[in-house]
C-alpha cells in the first residue's frame, strides 16, 4: 500500500506524457514490466524452495536501471511471494534467478548468456531484435512511443514455464508451435 504512489506516479508520467521521449521514463516502464511479468508466469514447483521463497529478478551484465528497478520492486509482492532484485556476476550465478534481464548493451555476449540459461525455468527478458531467435523468452520493444513485448512460446514451453493466456494476448507477437 505504501508503494502504490510509485506505480501511480509512473503511470501519471506514462499517461500524461503519452510518449517515451526520455530514456528515464522508458526504463521506469520497463522496470514495471519486469515486475508485472512475474505475476502472469507460472514456474515449476521445483523453482522455489518453499512457499515464502522470494521471486528473484536478476539483471545480467550492464544495468540500465540504476536504482529504478530496486525502487520499483521494493516491498512489492507477486503471486504471494516477496520480490527481490539481484545482480549476478555471471550466467552461472544467474541459474537460481526466476527472471533474468539482459540489456541491449550486452548484445555481443547475449547468445552465450542465453545458451547458458537455455531450458532452465528462467524467464529471460531482452531488448535486441534477434533476442527471441537466440532462445530468449520475452522481448521488450518500443512501438509508437509505447513499450510492448513479444513472446517465444516454444522456448517458454521448453523452459517448463507456463505463460498466462492474458499475457500472451497482450503480446505484440507470439512465436510458437
Amino acid at each position: 500500500v505504501v508503494l502504490v504512489p510509485v506505480a501511480v506516479s509512473l503511470f501519471i508520467q506514462a499517461g500524461s506524457g503519452r510518449g517515451l521521449a526520455q530514456p528515464l521514463l522508458e526504463h521506469k516502464v520497463k522496470a514495471a514490466f519486469l515486475l508485472n511479468f512475474t505475476r502472469y508466469v507460472s514456474w515449476p514447483t521445483g523453482a522455489f524452495d518453499d512457499d515464502v521463497t522470494p521471486i528473484e529478478i536478476c539483471v545480467l551484465g550492464r544495468d540500465p536501471f540504476g536504482s529504478l528497478l530496486d525502487r520499483t520492486v521494493a516491498g512489492r509482492s507477486s503471486q504471494g511471494r516477496p520480490v527481490r532484485v539481484r545482480r549476478p556476476a555471471n550466467a552461472r550465478e544467474a541459474g537460481a534467478c526466476h527472471e533474468v534481464f539482459i540489456s541491449a548493451a550486452e548484445s555481443e555476449r547475449q547468445p552465450d548468456l542465453l545458451a547458458t540459461l537455455r531450458d532452465k525455468p528462467i524467464l529471460t527478458v531482452g531488448e535486441t531484435d534477434e533476442f527471441l531467435e537466440q532462445g530468449g523468452l520475452v522481448r521488450l520493444v518500443v512501438v509508437d512511443n509505447a513499450v510492448r513485448f513479444e513472446i517465444n512460446a516454444t522456448a517458454a514451453a521448453r523452459s517448463d514455464l507456463r505463460i498466462g493466456a492474458r499475457l500472451l494476448g497482450l503480446a505484440r507477437r507470439v512465436m510458437g508451435p
Partner: protein
C-alpha cells in the same frame, strides 16, 4: 349501467371472468415490468462483476495497453443493454473507451465517486479494478434500461398467449358455470315468468343441488305449493259464499213473497172491514137522523142531547172509515206518472178551503210554476192533506199565513208547505207520520191521525221522502221530495 343490469346472467359471468382475468394479466404485466425495473441494477451489477472477472482487465492495465483494453471493451459492448464503457488508470486518466453505435452517450471523463448512478433510463456503474490488493484503475459501464415499448413488445407474445389461454379458460368456465349456475337460474326465471303470465301455480322447477340456487328453487316450489293451496282454499271459500248468497237470496225472495202476501191479505182485510163497517154506520146515522127529525120535539131535552152526541160520533166514525179507505187506496192503486202543475193544484185546494170557511182570514203565498212528475190523483190527496193541516192549525191566528213553494237542495227539488200555526215540539217529530199518532188533543184540533201517514205513503211511492220542521206556537213546515 342499465344495459349491464339487463344482460343475461351467463353473459355477465363471462364478462366478469374475462374482466378479472384481464385485470390479473395487467397486474402481472405491471408487476413484471416493475420487478424488472427494480431488479435491473442488481442484475446488471452481477453481470458486470462476472464480465470484469472474466476479462482480467488488470493485465492490460498493468501493461498500460490501451489497444487491448479497447478490444476488451468492444467485446463487453456486445452484451445487450451496454451503451458505453471506459477504463481509467489509477490516476483517473482514460486508458480506453468504447461507445456503442446507438448514439452519443454521456460517458464521463473520469471514474464517478459513486459506484452506482441511476437516472431513470441509464445506469452508470463504476468499479475499481484491483489485483493483489493493489488499485490499478476503474471501469465505468453505462447501461440503458430498455424503453417501455421495447419491454412491452418483449412481453407481448407471452401476454398474447396468456390472454388467448385466459379467453379459452373463461369460455370453458362460463360453460361450466352455465351448467352449474346459469341454467338453474334461467329455469327458475322461466318458471317465474310462466307463473306470473298464466297464473298457473302447478308449475314446479327441478331442484339441482343444495347450494343457494337449490335452496331458492326449493323455496320457490314451496311458495308455489302454498299459493296453490291458498288458491284452492280461496276458490272453495268463494264457492261457499256464492252458495250461501244464493240460498240467502232465495230465502229473502221467499220471505218477501210471504210478506207481500201477508201485507196484501192485511190490506184486503182492513179494506173489507172498513167497507163493511160503513153499512151498519149508515143505518145508525140514517135512523138517528129520522129519530131527530120525526120525534125530536117529543123527546125530553136530555134524550135529545144524547141523540145529538150519537150523531156526532157516527159522523166522526164515518170520516175515520173514509180516511182508512183512502189510505188503503193509496197503497193499492197503480201509479200513473204525468206532468202535474202543483201551483195550480195548491191554488185550487186553498180556494176550496177559503170558500168552505169564509170567516177565516188566511194570507196565501203560493209560488207560480211549480211542476212535478207524478200521479196527479195521489199528489192531489197529499197536497190536500198538507193544506188541510196548515188550515186547521192556523185557526187560532187572527191572520193565518200559508205558503207553498219549491227549494233546491243540491240535486234535489224540495217542495214545502209552511204555516204560522200552532207548530209542534221537535222532540216528537218522529211520531208525526205514524198512523193514529197525534201531537194535539182532539178538543184543540180535530183529526183522525191518518192524514200525514197518507202523505208519507204517497211520497214514498213516488220514491221521495217527507220530513217536518217546527216549533211550538211558531208554525210548522212540511218538506217533501218526489225522487227521480
Amino acid at each position: 349501467v342499465t344495459s349491464l343490469r339487463d344482460m343475461p346472467v351467463d353473459r355477465k359471468v363471462f364478462l366478469s371472468i374475462v374482466t378479472t382475468s384481464a385485470l390479473a394479466l395487467l397486474v402481472a404485466l405491471t408487476a413484471t415490468l416493475a420487478y424488472e425495473t427494480a431488479t435491473f441494477e442488481r442484475r446488471v451489477v452481477e453481470q458486470l462483476r462476472a464480465q470484469v472477472r472474466l476479462l482480467h482487465l488488470e493485465v492490460p492495465l498493468r501493461f498500460d495497453d490501451s489497444k487491448a483494453t479497447s478490444k476488451d471493451l468492444e467485446a463487453l459492448g456486445t452484451i445487450p443493454g451496454i451503451e458505453a464503457a471506459s477504463v481509467f488508470r489509477a490516476d483517473g486518466s482514460t486508458l480506453a473507451r468504447w461507445v456503442g453505435t446507438a448514439g452519443e452517450s454521456p460517458l464521463p471523463e473520469g471514474p464517478l465517486a459513486e459506484r452506482t448512478r441511476f437516472d431513470g433510463e441509464r445506469l452508470t456503474l463504476t468499479r475499481a479494478i484491483r489485483d493483489e490488493e493493489e488499485l490499478l484503475g476503474h471501469i465505468l459501464v453505462v447501461y440503458r434500461l430498455p424503453r417501455l415499448p421495447e419491454r412491452l413488445a418483449r412481453h407481448g407474445i407471452v401476454v398474447g398467449i396468456v390472454a388467448v389461454a385466459l379467453l379459452a379458460v373463461a369460455l370453458s368456465l362460463t360453460g361450466l358455470l352455465r351448467r352449474l349456475v346459469t341454467r338453474p337460474i334461467f329455469e327458475l326465471a322461466t318458471a317465474a315468468r310462466e307463473v306470473s303470465a298464466r297464473k298457473d301455480y302447478r308449475v314446479r322447477v327441478t331442484v339441482g343441488g343444495n347450494d343457494e340456487i337449490g335452496q331458492l328453487t326449493r323455496a320457490f316450489n314451496q311458495m308455489l305449493s302454498a299459493i296453490e293451496r291458498g288458491e284452492q282454499e280461496q276458490r272453495r271459500a268463494a264457492e261457499e259464499i256464492r252458495a250461501l248468497n244464493a240460498d240467502l237470496e232465495r230465502r229473502v225472495a221467499h220471505r218477501t213473497e210471504q210478506l207481500e202476501t201477508a201485507n196484501r191479505e192485511l190490506e184486503a182485510f182492513s179494506y173489507s172491514v172498513s167497507h163493511d163497517l160503513r153499512a151498519p154506520l149508515r143505518a145508525i146515522d140514517g135512523f138517528s137522523h129520522l129519530l131527530v127529525v120525526e120525534h125530536g120535539p117529543g123527546l125530553v131535552p136530555p134524550a135529545r142531547a144524547y141523540l145529538e152526541r150519537i150523531r156526532n160520533a157516527t159522523q166522526k166514525m164515518g170520516r175515520l172509515i173514509d180516511d182508512l179507505l183512502k189510505l188503503s187506496r193509496v197503497t193499492r192503486s197503480e201509479l200513473r206518472c204525468e206532468a202535474v202543475d202543483l201551483s195550480a193544484m195548491a191554488r185550487q185546494i186553498a180556494g176550496d178551503l177559503a170558500e168552505r170557511t169564509p170567516r177565516r182570514r188566511v194570507r196565501l203565498g203560493i209560488d207560480e210554476g211549480v211542476t212535478a212528475l207524478g200521479d196527479a190523483r195521489l199528489l192531489q190527496v197529499a197536497l190536500q192533506n198538507l193544506f188541510d193541516n196548515a188550515w186547521k192549525f192556523t185557526k187560532r191566528r187572527d191572520e193565518g199565513a200559508i205558503a207553498f213553494g219549491e227549494q233546491r237542495r243540491g240535486a234535489d227539488r224540495v217542495f214545502f208547505v209552511r204555516d204560522n200555526g200552532a207548530g209542534f215540539d221537535m222532540r216528537y217529530v218522529e211520531k208525526l207520520f205514524v198512523p193514529f199518532q197525534r201531537l194535539h188533543r182532539e178538543a184543540e184540533f180535530s183529526g183522525t191521525g191518518i192524514g200525514l201517514a197518507t202523505v208519507q205513503r204517497i211520497v214514498a211511492r213516488h220514491g221521495g221522502r217527507v220530513w217536518a220542521e217546527g216549533e211550538v206556537d211558531k208554525g210548522a213546515t212540511f218538506f217533501f221530495t218526489l225522487g227521480g
